[in-house]
């Protein structure tokens, strides 16, 4: 265990300010609400602007056209996620960055040149299948493959031109980059509790692809998929902490403004203690998320444990914080007009996506017990 300094660098502070003012200016909540009825849930021009600021480039190496602020791209990207959480921003943050990172790390030059410029500029939205629900068989020679199965939950699946899908076969796990207009691919848009983040089901009905679609090595995608999943979970945690932080801010304001029996609501001890607990949940969520991001970046042997711990804790306490804020707001908190439900939708999505708290705890138990065996 080495001592790690969490203090943000000056570059990171500056970037946070830039990201925040961009989002506040270009995608305030009124704008986000106006995007609810769009099929994509966001504005393509806005996403290109976001990409220009760097929302898609931190996990991409400099030679591939990306680059980080601090030398720790995932730390930088957490800032984006947290700021987007503060304003429940839409947009394909998770799939764009997960795929960009994967392509930057493992792609051939041709693949990189085909995909990265579009993702980095925001013109191209990639999809990412988090599960392993597709089977692959080698078709005759070993240069062609047939994919068969259904990816049940693909973020931006209906917005993407190309998706990264992991398939299981006799050789092991292999990742493929598949155009969604390939013959045999069916895209079914889904509905979600979040009103602007979009998901789809992708069915692969004997989709034929060749070796140029393989990302990385055939049969060896296990560690890559694991890393992608951990990155996705950490980003969700960070987005949730951003939402928690903003909700706590406006709840504090509201309780200072409201009077009961001639006293501000914020002077009632019970409500003060609720807020103290919420502050604790927020800071603990931030702390464990930051630790987890470090461990994922450094690929330490505690990385999965820290990510699962963060996902379980932040998932549970993110929703609990926002529900407590609803309680503190009273009736107004369950109206359509008030923004609280937008936050509740987002943290509730993040809590369940890619594993529920109970599933994370089960996995933590497994890892703890495994350690006993080996120690």
């Amino acid at each position: 265990m080495t001592a790690v300094d969490f203090a943000p660098t000056d570059d990171q502070e500056l970037f946070r300010a830039t990201a925040r003012s961009f989002l506040e200016r270009e995608a305030p909540l009124a704008t986000v609400r106006s995007w609810i009825d769009r099929p994509d849930g966001f504005d393509a021009g806005w996403w290109r602007q976001a990409a220009e600021i760097g929302f898609t480039s931190f996990l991409v190496s400099e030679e591939a056209g990306g680059g980080s602020l601090s030398g720790r791209g995932l730390d930088d990207l957490l800032i984006v996620a947290e700021e987007m959480g503060r304003l429940v921003s839409p947009g394909p943050l998770v799939p764009a960055n997960v795929v960009a990172g994967a392509v930057s790390t493992s792609a051939t030059r041709q693949q990189r040149e085909r995909l990265l410029p579009g993702i980095l500029s925001g013109d191209h939205v990639p999809g990412w299948c988090s599960g392993v629900e597709v089977e692959v068989v080698v078709d005759g020679d070993d240069h062609h493959f047939v994919l068969r199965g259904g990816a049940s939950l693909v973020e931006a699946g209906a917005q993407a031109q190309e998706v990264l899908v992991t398939a299981t076969g006799s050789a092991g796990l292999t990742q493929f980059l598949v155009p969604v207009d390939a013959p045999g691919v069916t895209v079914t848009p889904l509905v979600g509790i979040d009103l602007v983040r979009r998901f789809a089901r992708l069915d692969f009905g004997d989709v034929r692809v060749d070796r140029s679609s393989v990302l990385g090595q055939v049969g060896r995608a296990g560690p890559a998929l694991q890393h992608q999943r951990l990155v996705a979970l950490v980003l969700q945690c960070s987005e949730t902490t951003g939402a928690m932080s903003r909700v706590l801010e406006f709840t504090l304001d509201y309780l200072g403004d409201r009077y009961a029996a001639g006293r501000p609501l914020s002077s009632y001890q019970v409500l003060k203690h609720y807020l103290a607990d919420m502050k604790l949940w927020l800071e603990a969520s931030r702390g464990v998320t930051a630790l987890a991001a470090r461990a994922v970046h450094d690929q330490t042997d505690e990385a999965e444990e820290l990510v699962r711990a963060a996902a379980a804790y932040v998932g549970e306490h993110g929703t609990e914080l926002v529900q407590k804020a609803v309680q503190l707001h009273g009736g107004i908190g369950i109206t359509w007009e008030h923004d609280l439900h937008l936050y509740l939708r987002r943290v509730s999505l993040n809590r369940n996506l890619g594993g529920t708290p109970a599933e994370h705890l089960e996995r933590l138990a497994e890892l703890s017990l495994q350690q006993l065996e080996t120690s």
């Binding site: 939950l153 509790i193 403004d257 359509w336 439900h341």
Partner: protein, 419 residues
């Protein structure tokens, strides 16, 4: 005015007769209670209540002078026990019967009761209470709606909010300030308000789930006759306190005026475990972690049933004060949070993203977004804990900065201040 005890049929005889009549006259419930979103829900309630009236089973505990049967509460309980398999006017239970009818019987003059109670029992009128205000939050006595005496009338001005389904109602009990020169609780009065009176505007509030369960109302020089006053002038807080106790009874399931299962406290009457149904339909009925939640749901429902009995008997025998109904309200609110949370947890990832047209999952998600509703409406859980600690346990009252201060001098929420 009730029949002398020796002439009454016994509870058992009454139960038997009720059972036969219900079987012959009332529709059987198919599986789940009637759906809340049906358009004709309120006409249906009036119709069902009229059937009870015509059958001689309306107002079992209401005095005979006002159209009821004048029987003790055991008869009402026996009727409800028999009625569980049937559709009854569930949505009239609270507020019309458990809250409004009870309060009218407590405070109405003989003339007011004659004028309004039979109409309620016949299903002719549906009622609502107007208490909360946009500025007031949980502090109902922080009432800015005013009723000013003008010759032989009262003139009502102001706004109310969080009234249940006011659009569908005919009458309301409305709390208004009639004296601004005395401290908060001492200058209030309660009025019977005809919702078709000129100057009354009712607007539905869109909830997170798209429903319009609650309304907001505006009063613009609404003229009320003098006999619209319920109870004494400036004594409206006494009426309101009784009304709120009846509300807690209604929500908790211990009201003597409600027939049929209690939709607000389902655990106390329903036997099917909703978490078991959900776990089975999700295919996780064998998962031990899911089963803990299924078991918790059943436990919660059964404990609620025990608490309802305990509080009802306690209040009746005097071992608990009437304000102990706050225990029921607090329990019900917490149980509702857990019920929603359990369903969301069982659903997991499939509960936050779903196929278009999957109405059940959609409704479960919507419900999760208003998980706190039962902990807010009708008095927050924090208010219930204040009541329990102060009135049931006798602990010191919260400091009130507005005690003994003329109400016009009290500081209000910033959005409501007129300066």
């Amino acid at each position: 005015m009730s029949p002398p005890e020796e002439q009454r049929e016994s509870v058992e005889q009454f139960a038997r007769r009720s059972g036969e009549w219900l079987a012959a006259n009332m529709p059987r419930l198919t599986s789940e209670p009637v759906h809340e979103r049906r358009d004709d829900i309120w006409d249906r309630q009036r119709e069902l209540q009229r059937m009870l009236w015509d059958g001689g089973f309306a107002g079992i505990c209401v005095p005979r002078d006002y159209g009821g049967l004048g029987l003790p509460v055991e008869y009402q309980r026996a009727f409800t026990a028999e009625s569980l398999p049937y559709e009854l006017p569930f949505y009239l239970g609270t507020p019309t019967f458990s809250i409004i009818l009870a309060t009218l019987l407590d405070f109405g003059t003989h003339e007011q009761k004659l004028a309004h109670v039979p109409g309620i029992l016949r299903g002719d009128t549906i009622w609502v209470q107007f208490l909360s205000e946009p500025s007031g939050g949980s502090d109902l006595a922080a009432c800015l709606t005013r009723a000013d005496r003008r010759e032989d009338t009262w003139v009502l001005n102001g706004a109310k909010i969080w009234s249940s389904a006011a659009e569908a109602c005919d009458f309301a009990l409305c709390l208004a300030r009639t004296n601004w020169d005395v401290p908060k609780h001492r200058g209030l009065s309660v009025f019977i308000l005809d919702l078709r009176a000129p100057g009354v505007t009712i607007e539905p509030i869109t909830q997170v789930n798209g429903n319009h369960t609650f309304c907001q109302e505006f009063f613009d020089d609404v003229v009320l006759p003098l006999d619209a006053l319920l109870g004494e002038v400036d004594q409206g807080w006494t009426v309101t306190t009784a009304l709120l106790t009846h509300e807690r009874e209604g929500v908790g399931g211990s009201s003597p005026y409600v027939s049929g299962r209690n939709l607000l406290a389902p655990g106390s009457t329903v036997r099917t475990n909703p978490a078991a149904v959900l776990a089975r339909s999700l295919g996780i009925a064998d998962d031990p972690v899911a089963r803990q939640l299924v078991g918790e749901q059943r436990m919660s429902d059964l404990v609620q049933r025990g608490l309802v009995e305990r509080v009802s008997v306690g209040v009746r025998t005097g071992s608990l004060p009437p304000s102990a109904a706050a225990l029921l309200k607090l329990y019900t609110a917490g149980a509702s949070v857990r019920r929603t949370e359990i369903a969301a947890t069982l659903a997991g990832e499939g509960g936050v993203v779903w196929s278009p047209g999957d109405v059940e999952t959609q409704e479960r998600a919507d419900k999760y977004l208003i998980r706190q509703a039962d902990s807010i409406s009708g008095g927050t859980s924090e208010i219930q804990r204040n009541i329990i600690s102060e009135r049931v346990l006798g602990l010191p009252r919260e400091l009130a900065a507005d005690r003994d201060v003329p109400y016009r001098e009290v500081r209000q929420s910033s959005r409501a201040r007129t300066d």
